[in-house]
Structure formats: structure tokens, C-alpha cells
């Protein structure tokens, strides 16, 4: 039984600088409650919204990246519902059927599914640009039972993109891949840092043949997207296999207990009293398109195509593109090396792996060395100056420790006097020599290891050591 999955992804434009309609910060993290507020995002009477140009441009860039139809003007609408974290009791969003005009209608995203390294396509139904509400906490339980509500409006008014797909996604794994690729696309625009806590939320709907559509709300990470849908897929399949009926309903993902729970059984058609926001004249898109286009110039897809075009395997290219600083380094350094594949491996596999091992983020440009350093290192590797073991074990960890270090200071000394060390080891380990002479091949590995240990931080090619040992000990 193949599921049909559609997604609704809410992404904060954390890169928009300020909130959607006022000058407060778009990234409120780490601020004490209710300190990132002003009359506009508190919805005080008479405060007026003025669209943040950067947020609109980034939204348009997203629409371009998703190959959308972009309207001549964006029209904001008010969506009314009473909720403590919504200071005006309406949200400024877009709704086509009430005279609004979303940022995008009918687009498409081609996304890479690393399970099998295939490209998939999902149609985009629309993208809305809207305000994020504040955050409320009910110390006494729920909205109906708690005697207290604590509300923090720091988030209120943060620009939010609501991206809605058609039900085109074939599996929970693909859903995760879609969200990851979408976030990466938006990150390249400069619109979002998806690693910030709460930067995105996903609602998913999933149905199986013969069952109704179930919506799963409150999914907070890409891993949870896969888990929640996997859980829901199994739950629904079990019901259907037992001859039961899957009802149309909305369920809530409990990340802690890793299960979905029914939210409200009877789904009422809410009355939102949509109307165009009279405080916001339509925002003409044409004058902003040039600016938006510049933001989509370096899309993950374009970079992947360029990098694989250099002969780099897709897996390595994907690893590079996933870390934007690595991609920038690659593009900058590729012209200065003979074999870009060596550079790609250094960046996407060796250096990125070393960063992970050292517990440093690959997304922070300051954790990466300058392009010149990487280019020179790649050339040294190409020329066989240093064996891969030395590069991985000594040079790269040195750079990870201090990315701004000059290459010279992290390059190991060349192993001068290697022969002397080999002789030393032969004298020091007569038992191993004897074992080797009597045919125990593994003893040679041991001797090689001892030579390398004695060389300490100096670079040496183990094959060279092995060759020297064999020469001294007479073939074997």
C-alpha cells in the first residue's frame, strides 16, 4: 500500500532582519519575554503595519526558486480567530478566495532523495507570506482549563512562509527529503537558518488507498517528519488490513512518545471572516523581482549540477552543498586545482567529517579555512606530497583546530631519515621480525605501525615504510 502525502511547511524568514510589518527583530531567540515588541506587533489600537521589503523580496525569491506563478501584486488578507497569542485576534496572511493574492500559486520543487539518489518532483499549491503569532503557555493545562495564560509576543509578527504542496510525496522518507531540500533552498536564498530552534514547523497529511486523509500537526524537525508519517502510515495500514475504516481527522504528533494522537474528532469548518487588509495596499511585485532573482542565483540545484559536472560523485557533491560554506569554498577554489574531485573529497568528506568529529558546525563559515588554503592542500594531495592518511589524520585536524592557520604550520615535517628509523625498529622488535621471517604476514603490519609511531607528527606514506621493511628483511 503506497501512501499519498502532502505537506504544509511553515518557515520563519529568520534572515529577513525585522518582523513582517514592524522594525522588531525577526530572530527573537535568547531575548527575555516581551522585549522584542512594539505597538505594531502588539497590535495596539492605531498601530499600522508597513510591509518589510526584505521579507517580501525573500518570499518572492522562494516563489522563483519553486518555479511559481507570481502575481502582479501581493494582497494581504486578515484571518480572524480568537487566541491569546494573537494580539489583534486576526492574523495578516493571504487568502485568494477573499480577494487576497498569495506570493505564489502552482509551482514545483524538484528535490533530491538521498535514499537511492533520485530526483523527485512535488507540485507546490501555493506560498503565503504571513505573520507568526506569539507564544502562549498554559500553566494550568489547556486553554479551557487553565486559570492563567502566559504570553510572550517576541515571536509575534515574525515573517512566516506557508508552503503547501499537492499530495505528490510517495513515502515518509521522501517527505523528509522534501523538507530538507526545501529548507536548503530557502537557506541559499538567505531567508532562513533552519537550525534555529522553532525556525520551521510541518503539518502533514497522509492517506492510504481506501482510507480518508489524516492531518498530522505539530512536527518540529525533519527527522520527526519521517517518524510521524512512518507511524501514521503503519497505524492506518493496520486499520485497513483489519478491515477497519480510517476516518478523516486531525492528529497531533507527540514527539516525546513518538506517536500521533487525535486532536479534535469532528473537524468543524472554521469561519475566519477573511477580508483584504485595508491598512495594506497591494504590494506590486514587478519592482522587486530583480532583487529577488539575485537571491536565487546560487540555488542548491545549480551548485549540484556544477559540482557533479566536474566529475564529482553526487553523494560528495550533496555533502558539499548541504554546508553552504563548503559550497562557497568549492566554487572559489575549483579553478585553482588540477582535479576538482580531490578538492571535493577534501571538503565534502574529509574536512566536513573532521568538523563533525570535533563537534563543530559545518554551517559556520568561520569553521572553514580560506579557499587558498584548501586549494593548496588539494594541490599537495594531487601531487602525492602527502599520503591520504597524513592529510586526514594530521593536516585536516590541524586546520579544524585553527582554520585561519597557514598551511605551513599544520603540514607535518617530511620524514627525513626514514631508513634509520626502520633499522631502529628492526633492532627493537626481534620477536616480530622473527615472526615475519617465519611467514606471519601480520607481523609486518605491526612493524609498520611501530615505524609510524616513532615518526610522530612527521608525514609518511605507510606503503613506503612497508616497502623499506620488506627490502631490509629480504622480500618475505
Amino acid at each position: 500500500m503506497r501512501p499519498v502525502i502532502g505537506l504544509e511547511v511553515h518557515v520563519q524568514l529568520t534572515g529577513a532582519g525585522s518582523k513582517l510589518f514592524c522594525g522588531c527583530k525577526a530572530d527573537y531567540r535568547g531575548m527575555p519575554p516581551n522585549t522584542n515588541v512594539c505597538p505594531v506587533c502588539l497590535g495596539l489600537p492605531g498601530a499600522l503595519p508597513v510591509p518589510n521589503r526584505r521579507a517580501v523580496v525573500q518570499a518572492l525569491a522562494a516563489a522563483m526558486a519553486l518555479k511559481c506563478r507570481i502575481p502582479g501584486a501581493i494582497v494581504f488578507t486578515r484571518k480572524h480567530y480568537f487566541y491569546p497569542d494573537l494580539p489583534k485576534n486576526y492574523q495578516i496572511t493571504q487568502f485568494e478566495r477573499a480577494g487576497g493574492a498569495p506570493v505564489c500559486t502552482s509551482g514545483v520543487l524538484e528535490y533530491l532523495d538521498p535514499a537511492g539518489w533520485v530526483w523527485r518532483r512535488a507540485r507546490i499549491r501555493r506560498i503565503n507570506l504571513e505573520e507568526d503569532p506569539g507564544r502562549s503557555v498554559y500553566p494550568g493545562g489547556s486553554i479551557v482549563s487553565s486559570e492563567e495564560v502566559l504570553v510572550d509576543y517576541n515571536r509575534s509578527g515574525v515573517p512566516l512562509l506557508e508552503i503547501v504542496t499537492e499530495p505528490d510525496i510517495p513515502s515518509p522518507r521522501a517527505a523528509r527529503a522534501f523538507v530538507e531540500y526545501l529548507l536548503l533552498t530557502l537557506e541559499y536564498i538567505g531567508a532562513v537558518n533552519p537550525r534555529l530552534e522553532g525556525a520551521f514547523r510541518v503539518d502533514a497529511n497522509i492517506s492510504l488507498p481506501g482510507g480518508e486523509r489524516v492531518e498530522v500537526k505539530n512536527i518540529g524537525s525533519t527527522l520527526e517528519v519521517e517518524r510521524a508519517l512512518e507511524y501514521e502510515y503503519k497505524r492506518q495500514r493496520l486499520i485497513l488490513e483489519r478491515g477497519g475504516r480510517v476516518e478523516r481527522e486531525t492528529r497531533h504528533w507527540d514527539a516525546h512518545r513518538r506517536m500521533t494522537k487525535p486532536l479534535r474528532h469532528k473537524e468543524e469548518e472554521a469561519e475566519y471572516l477573511y477580508m483584504p487588509d485595508p491598512d495594506l495596499p497591494p504590494v506590486l511585485t514587478r519592482p522587486l523581482l530583480g532583487e529577488a532573482e539575485a537571491l536565487v542565483a546560487t540555488s542548491p540545484r545549480r551548485l549540484l549540477d556544477e559540482i557533479t559536472g566536474d566529475g564529482v560523485p553526487l553523494e560528495v557533491a550533496w555533502s558539499i552543498v548541504q554546508a553552504r560554506p563548503a559550497a562557497s569554498l568549492y566554487m572559489e577554489a575549483r579553478g585553482r586545482v588540477r582535479d576538482p574531485r580531490v578538492l571535493a573529497r577534501l571538503l565534502g568528506v574529509d574536512y566536513k567529517g573532521a568538523l563533525r568529529e570535533a563537534g563543530r558546525g559545518p554551517h559556520d563559515p568561520s569553521n572553514w579555512p580560506p579557499a587558498e588554503t584548501m586549494a593548496r592542500l588539494a594541490r599537495l594531495v594531487e601531487e602525492g606530497e602527502y599520503p591520504p592518511e597524513a592529510v586526514r589524520g594530521l593536516i585536516i585536524p590541524g586546520l579544524v583546530r585553527d582554520p585561519q592557520a597557514s598551511l605551513e604550520t599544520v603540514l607535518p615535517e617530511k620524514a627525513e631519515g626514514l631508513e634509520a628509523v626502520v633499522d631502529e625498529v628492526i633492532r627493537a622488535y626481534p620477536r616480530a621480525v622473527q615472526d615475519y621471517m617465519s611467514g606471519k604476514r601480520r607481523a609486518l603490519d605491526y612493524l609498520v605501525g611501530q615505524v609510524i609511531r616513532r615518526l610522530g607528527r612527521r608525514a609518511v606514506d605507510p606503503r613506503e615504510v612497508r616497502r623499506l621493511l620488506e627490502e631490509r628483511l629480504g622480500g618475505g
Binding site: 505597538p39 502588539l42 497590535g43 495596539l44 489600537p45 492605531g46 498601530a47 499600522l48 503595519p49 508597513v50 510591509p51 486578515r78 480572524h80 480568537f82 491569546p84 494580539p87 489583534k88 485576534n89 486576526y90 477573499a98 480577494g99 486553554i143 479551557v144 482549563s145 487553565s146 486559570e147 495564560v149 469548518e269 469561519e271 471572516l273 477573511y274 477580508m275 485595508p278 491598512d279 495594506l280 495596499p281
Partner: protein, 477 residues
């Protein structure tokens, strides 16, 4: 009845004395305010005196700003930092805005003295001034009658001369109707000419803050201070208001006035007589008067009220008793608080308009009401724009004389009918000036409507009308 000289002239010639003027105003307030009830909040006398002395000092030192020491009243739906802004509602009886409205910022920068916040129909919903949670305002020309609304207090206080300038807001006639009932001058500006930032909203797409005064020149003076682009109001337009000093009455020969027959027909006899009297005197001086049919007149009230109520329902959703708490609540949960606050703290007319607004926006009704009203609005706007390109539209501001207190409260349709002449300018976004035509036996006003940004036409024609009526500067006390 009394007549005062032009404030603008006194300011220009340097003879204006804020200290003396304030003492006179304080005397009038002490004598009349209790009965008129024009203010919801008055500033402490000591603070006002201090400001007047400071203004006087600046004038003597030759450092006077454009409105140095001028007494101004501000409608209570316009935010003044730290001063409570109730908008005539119990819902906001404790609300003190943490910021100044854009126009208030400009007033303060120009050196004006804000005397107080004026009474008004709750959230500007009303045409008589009787729907205030702080009691009705009376008309200084006849204390048994209403001053008109919703800018009732601003008009009334001008009419008893406690201030020389006032700010009102006009959503469907809320400046012009009270100005007509109190023989004062009021302007509903071109939509976007004056920033709405800081105006507690009723119907955003229709309303403007506007100036009120006792003469056209004084009004133009205040207008030149408050009008102009505000980048923090997305509906604000690039616009330069006319220079109040260089305004001259228009040559009557160059006046072309178009008069809609439907409005004349809808007006009661004394109003019609006073207005037609003005027309014939204008004509005698060489003005061209033309009558035209405006068959859309029957549509303007339903369209206007549908749009206004829809926007009102939306704007007033935020008052749920939580961010603006001000009562002893027995509610135990947020939802209970919500219901309790909206039940207890909104007045009956506000509740009616919210309920109607919700209805016209609801699925299944939206197309029939809200969308249709928007269509009518576009039609009316196109027709009106076509006419004001050619001429200035002139008509009585109110179809009736100021009603007695209580007279219009029984039937909402009777109340709404007062706005038949004024709502068109709001639907079309064009400027409209009200000025008095006669005060005997009661005030009657004329309304002039011009092309967008055509305030200068209105002021020039207004100065000519004042020459004819001799009513510039008139007040009841």
C-alpha cells in the same frame, strides 16, 4: 452668539497671547463644560498654564513655532502618549497609549497646546454623540440638541470656544456632521493625505483624521501642519497641503458648483432653504450652479455601512479583555474573560455593528453583502471622480437640523440616514469641506467635495462662501 478674529491672522501678526487665551478658555470650560460634556479627559490647569507661559516666552523671544501656544482639542480615538485614549468606550477606559499618533507628533512639534481629549460616539460609531460611554455631548447652540457625531466633543468645544482648533476623525461624516450641527468648519481630507497612525481604527479604508476650526483659514492652518506623507502608514500618499497664508477667496466667476438633486430632495425645508439661499447668492456673484442626477445616492448608505461594519468587526476583535484589562473580572479562563469583556464593556451600537460586520463577512453572505458593497463602492467612486474632475460638488451636509437629544436613538435606520450626504466622500476617497451657511434658528452647513488632492479648491471656495455668509469665526459663546 459671538464672533472671534482669525487665529491665523493673530499668529501671523504676532499679537496672539497664549496666556490670556488660556485663561479665557479655562473660564469658558469652568462655566460650560459640565453641561456640554465635550471632554473625556482634560489636562490639569496647572500644566496647561505652564505650557502657555512657555509658549508666550518663545513668542516674545521670536522663536514661535507655527502653532505656538494654540489651544487644540484632540478626539479621544487619537493617541497621545501617556494620556488615556478611551475612544468613547468602557473597553478602553484604562488604556494609555505608549506612543503618539503621527498627527499628535506634528502638533507637538508645531508648539500646540493639547487641552484635552474630546468626547465621541463609542469607537466613532454614531452620528449624534449620544453613543459615548462617558455620557452624551450637548450642542452649545441649543443644549437640548445633539452636536452631531461622532466627533461630538471636538465640534462642541470649538462651538463654545474652549479651543481654537480641534482634531476629529471622519469615517462617514464624523467630522462634517458635527461641524454642520455646531456651525464650525471641518474637513474630511483626501484619503491618505493625513496619516492614520495612532488613530484607533473603526473602518480603515474609509476614515481620515481631519482638522476642525471656526474658520476656513484657521482650518487650513491646522491642515498644513498635520497633512503630508508618513512612511509608517502604508496608505499615506505623497502630498503637499496648500499654504494657508497665500490662500485667497476664489473669483465667483470661476466657480462651477454641481448640486445633486437627490440630496436636495432628501433635505428638510429649513436646510434646503438655507442651502439654496447660499446658492442664489453665489449665482448672483457670477458663479455657475448646475444640478445633476445622482441615482446612486440610494446605494451609498447600504454600501457604506456594509463596508464600515465589516472593517469594524475586524478591528474590534482585539478587545478581548486581556491586553486592555480594566474591570473586576469574575472570569476564570481566557475564554470566559473574552465573553465577559465583550458583553459588559461594549455598548449596544458597537455590538450591533460587530454582529452585522461578522454577518456580512461570513461564508455564504460575503459575496451577497461585503463583495457587493465593494463593487458599489467602486461604481460610486468612478462616478464621483468623473464629476469632481469638472466641478465642485455642493450639497447640504446634513439633511436635517440638529436633532433633539434622544430623538434618533430608537431606530438605527433613522440614525444612519443622517449620513446620506457625507458617506459618498469616504466611499470615493475625495476631500470634503463642511462650513456653516446659517445659524438662525439653528446651524445649517454646506458641504463641498472636490477632486482627490483638491483641498486647495475647497479652501478657496470656502473663503468665498465665508465672505458671503459672514460666519467665519462664529461661536455660540
Amino acid at each position: 452668539m459671538k464672533k472671534r478674529g482669525s487665529l491665523a491672522q493673530q499668529l501671523a501678526s504676532g499679537v496672539y497671547n497664549p496666556v490670556e487665551r488660556l485663561e479665557e478658555a479655562l473660564y469658558l470650560i469652568s462655566r460650560l463644560e459640565e453641561e456640554v460634556n465635550a471632554f473625556i479627559t482634560l489636562l490639569p490647569e496647572e500644566r496647561l498654564r505652564e505650557e502657555a507661559r512657555e509658549a508666550q516666552r518663545r513668542i516674545l523671544e521670536g522663536k514661535a513655532r507655527p502653532l505656538e501656544g494654540v489651544l487644540v482639542a484632540v478626539k479621544d480615538n487619537i493617541s497621545v502618549r501617556g494620556l488615556r485614549a478611551t475612544a468613547g468606550s468602557k473597553m478602553l477606559s484604562c488604556y494609555k497609549p505608549p506612543y503618539n499618533a503621527h498627527v499628535v507628533e506634528r502638533l507637538v512639534d508645531a508648539g500646540a497646546i493639547i487641552v484635552g481629549k474630546t468626547n465621541m460616539d463609542e469607537f466613532a460609531m454614531g452620528s449624534t454623540g449620544e453613543y459615548s460611554a462617558y455620557g452624551p455631548t450637548r450642542n452649545p447652540w441649543d443644549m437640548g440638541r445633539v452636536p452631531g457625531g461622532s466627533s461630538s466633543g471636538s465640534a462642541a468645544t470649538l462651538a463654545y470656544a474652549a479651543v481654537d482648533l480641534a482634531l476629529g476623525s471622519d469615517t462617514g461624516g464624523s467630522i462634517r456632521l458635527p461641524a454642520a450641527f455646531t456651525a464650525t468648519v471641518g474637513l474630511k481630507p483626501t484619503y491618505g493625505a493625513v496619516s492614520r497612525r495612532g488613530l484607533i481604527p473603526y473602518a480603515n479604508s474609509l476614515e481620515q483624521i481631519g482638522p476642525m476650526a471656526r474658520s476656513v483659514r484657521d482650518l487650513a492652518f491646522l491642515y498644513s501642519v498635520i497633512a503630508g506623507r508618513d512612511p509608517l502608514d502604508a496608505t499615506s500618499i505623497d502630498y503637499q497641503p496648500p499654504d494657508p497664508y497665500t490662500l485667497e477667496p476664489r473669483d465667483p466667476e470661476a466657480v462651477r458648483l454641481c448640486v445633486p438633486e437627490e440630496i436636495i430632495d432628501a433635505s428638510e425645508a429649513p436646510v434646503k432653504a438655507a442651502f439654496e439661499g447660499l446658492l442664489s447668492r453665489l449665482e448672483a456673484q457670477g458663479a455657475t450652479i448646475e444640478y445633476f442626477r445622482a441615482p446612486w445616492t440610494s446605494l451609498v448608505l447600504p454600501a457604506y455601512y456594509t463596508i464600515a461594519m465589516a472593517e469594524a468587526a475586524s478591528n474590534l476583535a482585539r478587545y478581548d479583555g486581556s491586553l486592555y484589562p480594566c474591570h473586576d473580572s469574575r472570569a476564570r479562563t481566557w475564554e470566559e474573560l473574552n465573553v465577559e469583556a465583550r458583553t459588559r464593556l461594549f455598548g449596544p451600537e458597537v455590538k450591533r455593528r460587530i454582529a452585522m460586520g461578522v454577518l456580512v463577512l461570513s461564508e455564504g453572505y460575503r459575496d451577497e453583502y461585503y463583495v457587493k458593497a465593494a463593487k458599489i463602492r467602486r461604481l460610486v467612486r468612478d462616478r464621483v471622480l468623473g464629476i469632481v474632475r469638472e466641478c465642485i460638488i455642493g450639497q447640504p451636509t446634513s439633511p436635517v437640523l440638529p436633532p433633539r437629544l434622544g430623538e434618533r436613538l430608537g431606530d438605527p435606520l433613522q440614525l444612519y440616514a443622517l449620513d446620506i450626504s457625507t458617506v459618498t466622500a469616504n466611499l470615493a476617497g475625495v476631500p470634503a469641506l463642511q462650513l456653516p451657511v446659517s445659524v438662525e434658528p439653528l446651524p445649517v452647513g454646506a458641504q463641498l467635495m472636490a477632486r482627490p488632492r483638491g483641498e486647495v479648491d475647497l479652501f478657496e471656495l470656502g473663503l468665498l462662501v465665508e465672505e458671503i455668509t459672514g460666519l467665519a469665526g462664529v461661536s455660540a459663546f
